[in-house]
Amino acid sequence: MPTQVTSDTVEKVISDGLVEVGAEREAISRSATFEDLDVDSLDLVEIAQIVEDEFGVELDGDAVKDVKTVGDVVDLVVARGS
């Protein structure tokens, strides 16, 4: 049963996912870039997977290509999930 898509739940799931792939929890904020967090494209594939498992929202290759910050991904998931 997919979790309800709200900005808060999405931000929490993504933050937890980022920590799982090695980002520092304290460094995560909406404006943090993936470069800042040392999160690369393979890590983003995994985040996309986590998002899909949790919310049922699919993030394909094109979508993931343009995101630069944590906020970008959160907004994208919220937009696609509503």
Binding site: L42, V45, E46, Q49, I50
Partner: protein, 242 residues
């Protein structure tokens, strides 16, 4: 990191696929025997594995269709657990000199031998990335590395498989997932029926290989101890391409 999980072997109703399935099952891995139409062959492989104390399940899927690939993985996950090992073995030939290979014979060989391996790999990687463990072994051929007249379609597909193996290997290496290819030379299976005996004189080992000898290579690459082997091609050809 979890190395537990089942293996999927495509085209496992006979030949190298069947031998590989048996080899992996003897290591304690439950094996999903994928086949397209040879239900009897697949059932026989399952029976053989179960008689030796292993676990196996047969499932028909045309792996050139990504939707059927999804079905295949769903069946494996439901029956046998997460997929830790994928062996892309399904293959076919449609030989001819280049000017005589028809469009359908070109496409069919590329789709079955190369594209299908991509569809299954893409699907396998998703849970393997999360599990921080995976073993993907692609059955290529020395024909993908050295010329063999009359097999432009087969050579293209097998060479493509080697390129794909290396690229995907470096993408996922740091997640504990290895991707390798095994390149058999002349091995006695239904796929090589009708290929002339004259070839044996050219083989330094002076004999054709067996499906079990290829399966032994896959078993090693799929093992936990092969964790530092990735992006490589293990040739098993009696010295033919040396």
């Amino acid at each position: 990191m979890s190395a537990d999980g089942c293996a999927i072997v495509t085209g496992a109703a006979r030949g190298i696929g069947a031998a590989t399935a048996a080899a992996l099952a003897s290591e304690g891995r439950p094996v999903l025997i994928n086949y397209r139409s040879d239900g009897d062959g697949a059932a026989a492989v399952v029976e053989r594995i179960e008689a030796s104390g292993g676990r196996a399940h047969a499932y028909a899927a045309d792996i050139t269709d990504p939707d059927q690939v999804d079905g295949l993985f769903a069946a494996a996950e439901a029956e046998l657990g997460p997929v830790a090992v994928l062996v892309n073995n399904a293959g076919m030939r449609a030989d001819g000199l280049a000017p005589q290979i028809g469009r359908d014979d070109w496409s069919a060989v590329i789709d079955t031998n190369l594209s299908a391996a991509f569809h299954t790999t893409r699907r396998a990687l998703r849970p393997m990335l999360r599990a921080r463990f995976g073993r993907i072994v692609n059955i290529a051929s020395i024909v993908g590395i050295r010329a063999n007249a009359g097999q432009a379609n087969y050579a293209a597909a097998k060479a493509g498989l080697v390129g794909m193996t290396k690229t995907i290997a470096v993408e996922v290496a740091r997640r504990g997932i290895t991707v390798n290819a095994v390149a058999p030379g002349l091995v006695e299976t239904r796929l090589t029926e009708g290929i002339g005996n004259g070839l044996v004189d050219a083989i330094p080992a002076r004999r054709v290989g067996t499906a079990e000898e290829v399966a032994a290579c896959v078993r090693f690459l799929a093992s936990e101890e092969a964790a530092y082997v990735t992006g490589t091609v293990l040739t098993v050809d009696g010295g033919l391409s040396a």
